[in-house]
Symmetry: C2
Subunit: 147 residues, 2 copies
DNA sequence: GGCAGATTGACAAGTACCTGTCAAAATCGC
DNA sequence: GCGATTTTGACAGGTACTTGTCAATCTGCC
C-alpha cells in the first residue's frame, strides 16, 4: 500500500526513535531544571545570557528560535528575577538581558546536575557508538537542511 | 567549571544533534502534510484511525500522548470533515473516530508523498549506518526510560 | 543630512502539547 | 445487584513554540 523500500522502512524506524529520544531528553531536561525553579527553555536562555549580556534577537539567533519565542521566555524569567533588562548604549530599542545573582546561581545549580547526568549516561554507551550516532545524525540533519 | 568527561562532552553533542534532527523532521512532516490540508499531528491521528475506528483514549495510548492532546486534534479534524464520530455500541461515553472519504483520501495523499520522501533520504545513507544509529538510539531511549 | 531598507521589541492569534479537575459511564469485587 | 474503582470525554489553564503585523529605531547609501 505504501511502497516503502527496505531502506525506507529502516528509515521510518529511525524517525520513531528520534522522536522518542527527543521526548525523553526534553523530559529529562525539565527534571534537571525543576529543582532550580527552571524549565528546559528557561535554562537554555540563561545559558546563552551567561556568555554575556545579549538582546532578545541575539539570543534567538543563537538558539535557532524566533525572537517572539525568546521574548516570551525572557519575560517570564524577568518576572521571576532570574534575568534583568539593562539599557543598551548601542541600541535604544534592544535592551540587554543580563544575569543577576539569582539567575546565575540557578543556572550553576542546573549545570552541576546536568554534568553529572550526562556523565552517568555517557558511561553506559561506548565512545565509538556515541561518535558514530552523532556523525550519522549530523549527516542526516545536513541532508534534511539541503532540501 | 562544568566538569564534563570526554564522554559527557560527546554525549552533549549527541543531544544537540537529536534536537536538531527532530526539529527538521517535524518541519519536513508538516511540509509533506500541508498539500493535503494536514499537519504532522493531524496526519498521525488519521494514520491511527485508518487501522480501524478508535476512541480518543485508544488513539492517545497508541501515539503515546494524553487524551487531551488527541481530543484537541480530533476536534479540529472533525470540524474540517477529515474525521467523523460514530456511536460506540460498547461504551456510551467514548464515541469512535472513523475515516470518511475526505479524510481517507487526504491520508493516502500524504502517505504517497511520505513514502517517496523516506525512500529518497534513505537512499543517501547506508543500510548499516541506518541500523546502527537506530539501535544506539533505541538503547539510549531505554536507558532514559529506566531512570 | 536625509531617506530607503533592515532590524528590533511588542502584540495578536494559532498549533501542539501538558497537568489538574470533574461528572458520567463502564468495570470489578463480593 | 450494588458499591468502590477505573476509565472516559470535556473543560480550564499553562508552556513552548509558530506566523503575521506594527511602529520605533538603527544602518547603509548617496
Amino acid at each position: 500500500m505504501t511502497p516503502l523500500s527496505d531502506r525506507g522502512l529502516e528509515f521510518s524506524q529511525l524517525l520513531v526513535e528520534v522522536f522518542r529520544v527527543n521526548g525523553l531528553l526534553l523530559a529529562a531536561g525539565d527534571e534537571l531544571a525543576a529543582p532550580a525553579g527552571l524549565t528546559s527553555a528557561r535554562w537554555q536562555v540563561l545559558g546563552v545570557v551567561d556568555h554575556g549580556p545579549s538582546t532578545i534577537a541575539q539570543v534567538a539567533r543563537t538558539m535557532g528560535l524566533t525572537r517572539q519565542a525568546v521574548r516570551q521566555t525572557a519575560t517570564s524569567l524577568v518576572r521571576d528575577g532570574m534575568i534583568v533588562f539593562q539599557d543598551n548604549p548601542h541600541d535604544r530599542r534592544a535592551k540587554l538581558l543580563a544575569l543577576p545573582p539569582r539567575g546565575r546561581s540557578a543556572l550553576r545549580r542546573v549545570e552541576r546536575r546536568q554534568a553529572q547526568w550526562a556523565d552517568e549516561l555517557a558511561a553506559r554507551i561506548s565512545l565509538a557508538e556515541l561518535r558514530a550516532v552523532t556523525g550519522t545524525l549530523r549527516d542526516l540533519g545536513d541532508l534534511l537542511e539541503d532540501r
